[in-house]
Symmetry: C2
Subunit: 320 residues, 2 copies
């Protein structure tokens, strides 16, 4: 993944050179702050990769790529308010460090800033770039609303769950890639194919994330596992397990436990016994395979295609 | 104002035909709700007027004009959260009717929707239309942040106050007009002039609003007067009066009163005695005269110029 790592480093350097320090400072400081907290910068790196995949100059995609990253961070600021999250990447969230009003308003400003970066593309492709970006931005809002709804909903269907993660996470990967393709002058068919690659790999990633949250090695996963189980979160594991549970298993899924550890172990057992773990892994593999198929259909340069395939594998095939 | 009234009626009818009833309903219902609460639809009407002023077909400006109105209503939803406002146009605000999370997220979706409407313009003018819209959207956020800051700031300077109302209110009037001009194919000079007309008339309107909040006839003003005085709000009247007060007057401005009525009457007396009322009226007239000058400079059709001049007068010269 030498290329992708190069792209992320380039994004990081370019982002660090952006000056958001306008006035009033209450509006702009949180923008610099959230962007300084890091993150993998995968989305904008995908924009550069897609641009090069179709023979474009990644340098030309740099400013719009930053727009994708700024949009992503806007959504984090607002989501963190709704999720009452105290921390983001180990540091205080914007609404905690300042307050909710500041987080709402600087988030709004950041969404507009994202547009300012995105629309820097050549006029010829501006209509198609802004069309996919508008559509995506709206879908990300829809995904977040479904996610909020599912927190208090008992009977979430698997299809609805997949649609939620598609909207909340995957479409932005697709959009990041498609914008890179459009900048490179790719055909509509190629742009669609690379969008679908992002969409499918995003869903595969989220399913894998559900699996790792329960069964991952905390060291490798990068955070404590079992959180979703303790929160009774509607993940694909829980949805599938509920569907296939015996009355006893169902009772165990909903019971109170003396300790967190006991709950996590019991529920993991049910996820295995009901076949939910194996099922989730098979669904993940389905979306992964679809992603690779779309990547091939995109018919771009072999070098970058290989790079993106390695990236997809890295994103998904993390050790359990 | 027959033309402008015709435009607002056209906007109202067209808005009523828009279908925002997508899913999830928690995201989209608030959009239909806030837009159904009414409002004068002046901003989109200005877009249509500016289009016709420069020989364009107002019909062509209709969809982007709706985008302006949708943007305005997005800002109301988010401002109402920050201002903890229970009511908007006599009905529950979105965060009161639903909750803050819904208000944040449906506001976000509405901002994106505004872009979807705005970018429906012809590709040739899309870059310039989106440039002024982006700039304006950012400035509206800046204005709201300054307004929040000024609530708890003692020593607000008049220039900073004027800048705040320019950002919070006036630039969107300018933007609405400029987009209409761009759609009609006006020259850069004409588009700039009509923007400046909106900017100046917006500032004049806000100053007049400050004056009427203290000295207006509640019947004609459409709401109870004295609210700004009771809230010790930094208006141009209070800023100027503070600047020119004797120590005794200063003490009276900051004193506690036995009754609201006593406070309002005493402070109004100080606004008069210090010359703040006359000063505010002179500032208002200055901006009004500037607006009319810009309108003439725009050099559009005489018929619509007259219409916009009448509109400006109607907006400002409301009886005390």
């Amino acid at each position: 993944m030498e290329k992708i790592n190069g792209y992320t480093a380039l994004i990081e350097r370019t982002l660090a050179r952006q000056d958001f320090n306008d006035k009033p400072i209450e509006l702009y400081e949180p923008i610099s702050y959230i962007l300084s907290l890091g993150g993998k910068r995968l989305r904008p790196a995908l924009t550069l990769a897609a641009c090069e995949l179709f023979g474009g100059d990644p340098q030309e995609a740099l400013v719009p790529a930053l727009g994708i990253e700024i949009f992503h961070n806007f959504s984090l600021i607002h989501d963190d308010i709704m999720d009452k999250a105290p921390l983001r990447r180990g540091k205080k969230t914007v609404h905690e460090k300042w307050n909710s009003d500041v987080a709402i308003l600087s988030g709004d400003a950041m969404l507009v800033k994202a547009y300012q970066y995105i629309v820097s593309v050549k006029p010829e492709i501006l209509p198609s770039v802004i069309k996919v970006f508008n559509q995506t931005a709206l879908e990300v809002c829809e995904g977040q609303q479904y996610d909020l709804n599912f927190e208090t909903q008992d009977d979430v269907l698997e299809d609805d769950y997949i649609e939620m993660i598609r909207l909340k996470t995957s479409v932005l990967l697709g959009c990041a890639l498609e914008i890179g393709a459009l900048i490179a002058g790719a055909s509509v068919k190629q742009a669609d194919a690379i969008y679908s690659f992002g969409e499918s790999i995003g869903i595969a990633f989220q399913i894998q994330d559900d699996i790792l949250d329960a069964f991952g090695d905390p060291e490798k996963f990068g955070k404590a596992t079992g959180g979703d189980i303790l929160n009774n979160k509607n993940t694909i594991l829980r949805i599938n397990a509920t569907h296939n549970s015996s009355p006893e298993q169902l009772a165990s899924l909903e019971a109170n436990y003396a300790s967190d550890a006991e709950k996590v172990e019991t529920v993991k057992g049910i996820f295995k016994d009901t076949g939910a773990l194996v099922y989730a892994q098979s669904r993940m593999n389905e979306f992964y395979d679809e992603a690779i198929k779309h990547l091939k259909d995109a018919n771009g340069s072999t070098e970058i295609e290989t790079e993106l395939a390695t990236f997809a594998q890295w994103l998904i095939k993390r050790d359990l």
